[in-house]
Structure formats: structure tokens, C-alpha cells
Symmetry: C2
Subunit: 416 residues, 2 copies
Amino acid sequence: MKPKDEARRQLAEIESIAHEIAPSEQLYELLLRSVASETPLRVKYGIDPTNPNIHIGHLVPCRLLRLFQELGHIAVLIVGDYTAQIGDPTGRNEERPVLSPERVRENARLYADQLYRVIDQDKSELHMQSSWYREMPLEQVLGLMSSFSVAQMMAHETFRSRQDRGERLSLHELMYPLLQAYDSVAIAADVEIGGTDQLFNCLCGRDLQRTIGEAPQVVVTVPLLSGPDGRKMSKSAGNHLPVNAPATEVVGKVMSIPDTLIQEYVNLATTWSPIEKATLVAALDPDGSNAKQTKTRIARNIAAFLCGAKEADAAIAEFDRVHSRGGIPRDLPSLELDTSGILIVDLLVSAKLAQSKSEARRLITQGGVQLDGERVTDLTHHLSPGPGSTVVLQVGKRRFLSLTSRRWGDLDGRRD
Amino acid sequence: MKPKDEARRQLAEIESIAHEIAPSEQLYELLLRSVASETPLRVKYGIDPTNPNIHIGHLVPCRLLRLFQELGHIAVLIVGDYTAQIGDPTGRNEERPVLSPERVRENARLYADQLYRVIDQDKSELHMQSSWYREMPLEQVLGLMSSFSVAQMMAHETFRSRQDRGERLSLHELMYPLLQAYDSVAIAADVEIGGTDQLFNCLCGRDLQRTIGEAPQVVVTVPLLSGPDGRKMSKSAGNHLPVNAPATEVVGKVMSIPDTLIQEYVNLATTWSPIEKATLVAALDPDGSNAKQTKTRIARNIAAFLCGAKEADAAIAEFDRVHSRGGIPRDLPSLELDTSGILIVDLLVSAKLAQSKSEARRLITQGGVQLDGERVTDLTHHLSPGPGSTVVLQVGKRRFLSLTSRRWGDLDGRRD
């Protein structure tokens, strides 16, 4: 294939995943030069170790990274151990708490272990920001700062809106885009990948490279995946699905997404080809009749990618058994009761199935508590299973507890 | 004297020089504790070595420093070798050029040599900012930045007005007040002295000390001295009178101030007592008839302080001779002319007494050019002094040149 045709082919593949390429013509030029000179492009992707787990939202840019790798380029991963100490202010209305360096380091270590489930480690470089920021003298920091104007930074939507609302914006938060920008200089990035909300920060990198006389990177953004609650999936928002979650959690969380997110999950979170995705989306019934079936396929695809096909199948089967056929899951948590027994209200509280006695009473009154499949309605019900026998307590749809009575002669055992 | 009386006495002396004390009650408390515990206060004064020469405007805060020393306290001088690389944006409508570290170091060295003409070196500490900023890690810089909000910094009059006018304000300029503030932490300042335009920066130091749980400094401002052009005297504005200038320059510059500045110079630039100053100001004639006489007294006082009484007297006498009695100064610059002579217009240009031939012609037409005291009116006048003879050329009131004819046999000598 001629270099021009190959560059055009690569660009088309990238465009099929990307949300925006800024600017597209330059990416074509870079790809063309790369093909002609047989020199891989350096494709940067940075992420902050504010939480030890990466989540499936991160898979969207990581899939694009893997595509770049498959096209012959190098993924350059940046663990933002410095920016993590600031916290990306993007989209946040308050300052983040500053993480301790120890916490950041530990998160970074756990973090790196997970990245290579998704991208090809052999075609990757991994850099900690600390390798260039630990020894950076104040003079150099001031020099970098002089490349940006206050007005330029305050053009950041988040900064501006916080200032407009009179909310505190700390001086150090203005450093986040700048540090992320200098990362591009430090690793000589040709391309930077980020979520759509990272466009501002990534363009700062492009500006800084140009200011100091280096070739400016191309910015390629990808759409953001929503969490089950419909907000942007984010570790700090707590609505994330970690990539190292067990298959049962993956399936449970994906099955819990509202029907309105099905199309987004098909397009962004699965490994299917563009044609398979389009077919599945086209087949979605507007009245939602096949929504559950489609979610099950999505859940299986994601779980298989993260945990393997066997685990995925088992988790789907388990989910079905519990939710679809009223079954109870295997391997229930269990609790031994004293032979003297216990009041149902006290049991719910001590087993942490209710926060308080009043919540326990409300759960019972609302019909949410069952013993061996029979609804409990008596608030003064006293449980006293015979020695060695087992009763299954169910609270709501998904919380189960296997209750056994402590055997004679076992009085000194631990309760939980 | 009781500690309270002594503290009140010290406060009154400081108030007689200060423009503002923020807050005055706290300074009284500090003085009282200092007197009672026999612990001197640490009085900070910082200055940027953007120019190797300090000027008489700096004498105003230095006199206050010396007063603190005479009251038993310690002057802590900060050579702002880091802030100098930013340049104090206060009152400036453009960014300053960034000075090289080498230039800053050399200026700092020359600078320190001059400080002790004014204050008592034995009761002083001298610190370079680099002793705490050279090794400051980025984490700590970010931590300091987190103590300030963007809104707080943008409350700085200069920053706000530059932003309002749409003029570039670089990110690193926001660091100037912060670095100056941290200096107060680094040297544990009890008091900071600055010009009235330094109030914002000094109060940032007070805020930072409070934020990190240390006792906040008291800020004492002094009025700013104007240069002969009426603007704030400043090295970078070029209207300054260096403290190491020769007595003739001191006298010449002070004599050139407009009458409207006489009172300010009496009050801020001289060594007279408050009573002597008040008497001199009261004696000023509203019609300006004794303005020149008063300026002469001021010039002599300042020159005597800087260069000694003898030099001052000689400089005053020389000034009088040249300006008051139409005399010509001793030790004129001289120029040897070719024996072939030269046209007066060409001479003015080649001796750099006129920028161009047209300016030279205008000077002659306006009657501003004299030869041996006689006005030249002929634009085509040709000078040709006889061998060994001398003619004095005068342009305007103050520029003189001694012209001699090159002697026979001296044709290869240098012209200037």
C-alpha cells in the first residue's frame, strides 16, 4: 500500500472511534510521515492515580490507544502522580482534597498493574510525572508559567464558571492544565488522547509545545462513558465499575444501567465491531421489550473482556438465577445465631441489613423481608432455628443471609 | 521606663515616619512583648536586584529600618533574586523582561555593598531568596499556591486593571506576591516594611503566615519618593538617583526637580529632624522666590549624606558656578579638530550634540549654539581654530565642548 493510502486507512480507523481530532489534517500529516519514515508516533494518555482502580470508562480511550498500537504506534502512559496531588479541577465545583504522596504512590503501583489488561505492554512506555517534576527547580516552573496567560487559563469552562459563581478557585488549581501540558513536552508526544472533557488540558499541551518551539501534538478526544446513575463515570464520583471487579459485580452493575444508556454502552464499552454495534442498536425495540436481553449481552461482553468467557458465563447464569427465577445465590454470607434466638428487628440491625431499628421496622412493614421465601409481617417476630438447621433471610431483591443456629457445645465461637 | 511606656514611645517614633501601620494595635503588642522579653523584633525589608544600584527612593524605607535598629530591633534584608526573575508586576502595565540568573546574581552582589551605607550592618541579617527557593520542590510550591485563591490574587489593583484593559497577564506574575509572602515565613518576620505600593504583597505575607499557623506580621508602609519627572522613582523607569552616584550627579538631579516636589523631598529624602523639616516647609515662599535656595539646601543635605560634606560642598559650588553665574565647568570634554576645520552643522552632529543635521540647524536658528560665548547664527559657519588654540562650544545651557586644533605632525591621533 502506498504511504498516502496507508495513512488514510489509519486515519479512517482512528476517526471511527474518536469524538474529535484537533486538527484532523495534522494527524494525517503525522501518520503519513510515520508510515513513510517507518517511525511510530508517540501517543500519550495520562491518568491520575487518585484511586487505585481504573474503571471501564477508561477502556474507551484505552481501546483507542490499543488501536494506535495495532497501527504500529507507541502508547506512552503517564501516571499523574503530581497532578493527582492537585486533582483535576475539570468539571468539579469544589477543590479536591490533596492526597498524600504515599497514597498517590501506592495507587500508582496498583494502577499500573491494571493497565496492561487492556493495552499491549510491549508497545507501551510507562512514565511517572515525578520523574520530571521531582527535581524541577522553581525557576523552570516559573518559566513554564510565563508561557500561559491568566486569561488563557480562565477560559477553561470549569474555572470560569466557578469564578462566576463566586466559588473558591485556588491558585494551585491553575497548575493542573500546565503540568499536564508539560508532560507532553517531557515525553515528546505526537498525539494526546483524552475524554471530551480533557480537550482544554490537551490543547494546553499543544500550545506549550508550540511556544517552546517543538512540534505541537494532535489532540484526539473520545466520548465519556456514563455511570449507572447517568453521570460521567468517575472514580471520585463513586459511580465507577473497576476493571478488576469480579464478574458478578461487572454483570450486576451493567444490568443496573437504565435503558436510556444501552446504546451508549454498546458503542463505548463493548468489544464488538462497528457493524455488530450498529446491528444491535438498530434491533433495540423502542418499547424496551428487548432491553433486558440486550443488557445481558452487553454485560456478558464486558465481563468476558475483563474476566474471561467462563467467569462471564457463570456470572450471567448466577444473575439470572437470583433475579429472573426468584432463586437465591450460591455461597451466601452466613451468620450463626445464639440458641436463645433473636428478634427479627435486632437481627436486621446487627447483620447490617438495616441502619437502625426504625429502618428495620420500615423494611418489614413494606414487605421487604422474607424468611425462607415467606414474607415477615410481624415486627416482634422472634427467630430461633433448631440446632444445626438453616434459614435463608432475604432483604429486598438482592441481599441474602444464611442463618444457622449455634450448635450445643459451640457457645464460645465468634459470632460473625 | 515601664515596658508599656517604652512600647508606646517606640510606636510613636515609628508612626512619625510610617504612612500606614496594618494593624497599629498589633505593632504595639509586638513592641510591648519585645521590650518585656528583651527579644528584638525581626523587621523585614525586601528589594529586587533588577538593577545593581539602589536609589534614594530606597532610603525612605531604609531610614525606617534604621529607626527600628536604633530602637533595638533587627533588620532582615531580603535580596529578591527569585522575584527579580519575575519582576514585580505592581504598577506595571506590561510584563517585565526576565533577567538571567547571572545578571541577577551580579546585581545582588553590587546591591548588598550599598545597603550598609544606610543601615547598620551589625544589626542586620542579609538573606538571598535563593537560599529557600533553590531547593524548593514543586510539591511545596503547589502547597503554597493552594493557600491563595485566584480571586484573592486578582484583587491586586495592578492585576485587575491589566485584565480589565485586556492586557496580557502571565500566570507566573501571580507568583510574585506569593514568593514575597513566603519570604516572611522563611525568615519568621514580625514586621515587614515596604512602600505604599507594596501593601498588597506585604499583606499576602501576613495571610500566608496566618494560614500556616504562624504569627502574622505587621505591615508598615512608607510613602514613595517621586523622581525628578514626578513619577514614582524606580530603577526600571530610569528616573532614579543611585545612592552611589557622584556628588555632582546628586546635586544636578536634585536641583532639577520641579518646585512642586520640594516639600516631598524635604520630608522623605533628607536627614533633618521632623522639626527642621517642618520649619523649612513652613518657610517656603508660595511665589517660589526661595525655591532654588531650598533645593540647594536639600541637594547639599542628600549629597552630604551619600558622599560626605566636602564632596557635597564642592558639587554645590561647581553647580553654582556653571548655572548661576554663566560660568563654564572645569574639566570640559574636549575634541580635536582637523586643521582643515569643519562646518558648525557637521561638528554638532559628529560630536553628538545634535541627533541630525536638521536638529543642528534648528539649534543654531533658535540661538542655542555659542562659540566662546558668542551666539552662532550662520548655518554655514566654518570652524578652523589656529594650531594649538582652543574654542569653547556651548549648546543650550549645560552642554560644553572644548575644541582644539590638531597640531602639525599629530595627524594620526584619535579624534575623540
